[in-house]
């Protein structure tokens, strides 16, 4: 299996946990991001994710390199699902193993932050009365066309 992948089918978190387990790993953290029904009082019907697949997988592998530079004994696997996702479906999974637990938590949280910053994946929220591509407008090094 690929350790960094964009998938279209349901994510099976165990697959990624198993991919990072090894005899030296005493701790594994598996983060899953799920589709939430309510966001700031607005009810989501479902989500649609799109990605620049080849670049997204490359960027996820780069995040792994960053993680291994910061926490050398960790091992990490990441998958993001695209297409139509319903409430409670898993959009993203991050599995991190480490000899000791502290790094497994830290590296995992770092990875999700970086995914939200640099991996070309987009979320469209579909509500009862509309839909919108989400994107953090506050984020920095974007170009603004005038």
């Amino acid at each position: 299996m690929k350790l960094f992948e964009i998938v279209t089918d349901e994510i099976q978190p165990e697959k990624y946990r198993e991919a990072v387990v090894h005899p030296g790993a005493g701790a594994v953290t598996v983060f899953t991001g799920h589709v939430r029904e309510w966001t700031k009082g607005v009810r989501t019907l479902y989500l649609e994710y799109d990605a620049y697949v080849s670049m997204a997988e490359k960027k996820m592998a780069e995040i792994s390199e960053e993680v291994q530079h910061k926490w050398p004994e960790t091992k990490i696997a990441i998958a993001h699902r695209i297409g139509k996702l319903k409430i409670s479906d898993i959009a993203v999974v991050i599995a991190v193993s480490s000899p000791h637990r502290k790094h497994a938590y830290e590296a995992n949280e770092y990875a999700i932050e970086r995914i939200k910053e640099i991996v070309p994946i987009w979320k469209k929220e579909i509500w009862e009365n509309g839909q919108e591509w989400k994107g953090d407008q506050r984020k920095k090094p974007l170009l603004e066309v005038e």
Partner: protein, 77 residues
């Protein structure tokens, strides 16, 4: 010849997801101006540009055969 990709909201605005254009030797900045004049709604949008799957700077030069992607603010996770 360069290949242009559009994603998410920018794809909706462009009405296409990929196209090929005969423009090389331009700076990223100039290419951005080109598509912003071509497609309504690009002006005022926040856009990243990736050249060959790497985020590019405004002064980078786009060469023949390059793949350029117009990337709105990401929202994965």
């Amino acid at each position: 010849m360069i290949t242009l990709y559009y994603f998410a909201g920018l794809r909706d605005k462009a009405g296409v997801d990929v196209e090929q254009v005969q423009l090389t030797g331009l700076k990223v900045r100039e290419l951005l101006e080109y598509v912003s004049n071509k497609y309504e709604g690009f002006k005022g949008s926040l856009i990243h540009i990736a050249v060959n799957e790497e985020y590019a700077l405004l002064d980078d030069i786009v060469k023949d055969g390059d793949v350029v992607a117009f990337i709105p603010p990401v929202s994965g996770g």
